[in-house]
């Protein structure tokens, strides 16, 4: 019951933030759409008429997955950085329900927001390319949620590093490029690349949405295990850095 209250408090905080910074939220949608337009026109200019429908579809889905991945990976690290900057991080650590639970609910709320955001982006992108995909939304969101948890784990790791080093913004820049590369890696039939976070899930969502590919049950088990592994590892790393920050009295410093 108290956890539910915490979840509601976090949801309310997100709502207040979106309301206060409504312009910023709108600008984010616009900028992300403009980035997609740039990519789309770039591909059209380079490939001309030879660009296939499937390639455009892949680009649309790939872009949306990349957006989701980027937003998820920034979740905990970004929150830790923001809270450090605003001088409220220590107050979160005074919650008897635990700062880790606060961050977890923030991430879950963030995923909810990101779902809405990427759905808008998906439809805007489809309208731009003129290619209307038949999206199996339960599958799309379900597999995305399963695989995105691995990036939540990475995000916890970055959040932990953020507790000590505070400014980790440049890491996100590197990761955004790394993610693009990772999502192009061949993972199915099974290769070692599938063990990287998010890659197998992203491939599954893309292939199923664009080509209607179906995957065996063990593949989904692999995606789940992969996510749980990275999530557990991320939480462990976060706890290690958390203890270090408490030892060094770094929690309240920025």
């Amino acid at each position: 019951m108290r956890m539910l209250t915490l979840a509601v408090a976090e949801l309310r905080l997100m709502g207040w933030g979106l309301k206060r910074y409504f312009f910023n939220t709108g600008a984010l949608v616009l900028v992300m759409y403009l980035v997609f337009l740039g990519m789309f026109w770039g591909v059209r200019a380079i490939a001309g008429g030879s660009v296939s429908g499937d390639s455009l579809d892949s680009m649309v889905v790939g872009y949306v997955l990349w957006l989701m991945a980027m937003m998820s990976i920034q979740a905990t690290g970004g929150e830790v950085m923001n809270e450090s900057q605003t001088g409220t991080l220590e107050q979160l650590y005074l919650s008897p329900l635990g700062a880790d639970m606060i961050f977890l609910f923030r991430i879950l709320n963030g995923i909810l927001f990101n779902y809405i955001f990427v759905t808008i982006m998906l439809f805007l992108s489809m309208l731009t390319t003129g290619r209307m995909l038949t999206v199996d939304f339960p599958f799309f969101y379900g597999v995305l949620l399963l695989s995105i948890l691995s990036l939540v784990g990475i995000s916890f790791m970055l959040g932990g590093i953020g507790l000590i080093h505070k400014r980790i913004g440049s890491v996100y820049g590197i990761l955004s490029f790394a993610l693009i590369g990772m999502m192009l890696l061949p993972v199915y039939p099974f290769t070692g690349w599938a063990l990287l976070p998010f890659v197998a899930g992203a491939h599954t969502v893309n292939s199923h949405t664009v080509h209607g590919t179906n995957f065996p049950a063990w593949w989904y088990i692999l995606i789940t295990a992969n996510s749980l592994f990275y999530l557990a590892a991320g939480l462990m790393v976060f706890r290690v850095f958390e203890r270090k920050a408490m030892r060094l009295n770094k929690m309240g410093q920025y």
Binding site: M1, R2, M3, T5, L6, V8, A9, E10, R12, L13, W16, G17, R20, Y21, T86, G87, T88, L89, E90, Q91, L92, Y93, L94, S95, P96, L97, G98, I102, R243, M246, R247, L248, N249, M251, G252
Partner: protein
């Protein structure tokens, strides 16, 4: 800890940052319904001590119990009964209103909006924030922001409130209203307060007991009353028509260090009496030597004088 009246029990607390010793074997207790002031120069270990009790800083050794619970083993349970306003941090979200901040901080302590509403309304009225409850905190003065932070720290009705430099940068009026509110928390609700401050007047007017810390060690732990009694030296200034005789000077020096400065037909005698009751002896010395007293004034030690004397005196 056997005494049920003790809320906070700190024993042999030690904390180092690399080679720097921040807290060096600190031991003290705070009783329920007590306002304990912690004084010390910058870097003396005040904030580290408070943060260690709250579990925000992990200590190297020693034991901290709050309400009989070990902070090291039951930190989350300890936090159920603790609230804090920390120095050097905003403590609250400036983009939210006081009401929103209060709702949020109640929520992250597991208190639903419905259950928190009576307390939120009480705090907003008590701290004179009711009229501005829906305005963004960023528009407020430092004092108003500090009031919101205090309210948020108290929204879950904790047994103990930790206030780290609560009056820093505040004007006299707001500091006064905060002092009154803190006093009412103790007087009306039996709360325990641990407060650090550089504002000696604030501490003097608020605290029952004062800990003085230097280099991570306690150099004094006593009630304000006994501290003042221990440092009861009085400085007396007497304006005389003529200088003291040799015999008068020798007799006065036996009461305490004195100094006489003469100019324009009058002499000013300044003497720091070891015992406050020696004023009468001084008057006898002056009268016995036939001195004419034109003016007479005394000044005692306030907490700031005592603090400075202790900090300078202790090795």
């Amino acid at each position: 800890m056997t005494d049920p009246g003790v809320l906070i029990h700190v024993e042999n607390l030690r904390k180092t940052y690399g080679r720097t010793i921040a807290v060096d074997g600190l031991s003290f207790q705070a009783r329920k319904g007590e306002i304990l002031g912690i004084l010390g120069p910058n870097g003396s270990g005040k904030t580290t001590t408070l943060k260690s009790i709250l579990g925000l800083v992990s200590h190297d050794s020693g034991e901290i119990l709050v309400n009989g619970l070990s902070v090291a083993k039951n930190r989350k349970r300890v936090l159920e009964s603790a609230g804090a306003v920390l120095e050097g941090a905003r403590n609250i979200y400036w983009y939210l209103s006081p009401r929103e901040n209060l709702l949020y901080f109640a929520g992250i302590r597991g208190i639903s909006a419905r259950r928190a509403t009576p307390m939120i309304e009480h705090l907003l009225r008590k701290l004179e924030l009711w009229e501005v409850r829906n305005k963004e905190v960023r528009q407020f003065s430092s004092g108003m922001k500090q009031k919101v932070a205090m309210a948020c720290a108290f929204v879950h009705d904790p047994e103990v409130l930790f206030l780290d430099e609560p009056t820093m940068g505040l004007d006299v009026e707001i500091a006064l209203s905060m002092r009154n509110w803190i006093r009412s928390l103790v007087g009306e609700h039996g709360k325990t307060i641990l407060v650090t401050s550089h504002d000696m007047g604030f501490i003097e007017s608020l605290c029952d007991r004062v800990l003085i810390i230097r280099s991570g060690r306690i150099i004094s732990d006593e009630t304000l009353q006994s501290l003042k009694a221990r440092f009861s030296e009085k400085t007396v200034e007497v304006v005389l028509e003529a200088p003291l005789t040799q015999a008068q000077t020798e007799a006065a020096e036996a009461l305490g260090p004195c100094q006489t400065v003469c100019d324009d037909g009058s002499c000013r005698l300044r003497i720091r009496l070891h015992q406050p009751g020696s004023i009468m002896d001084l008057m006898d010395i002056l009268r016995g030597g036939g001195s004419v007293v034109k003016d007479f004034s005394t000044s005692g030690n306030d907490l700031e004088d005592i603090f400075l004397q202790m900090i300078r005196r202790e090795p």
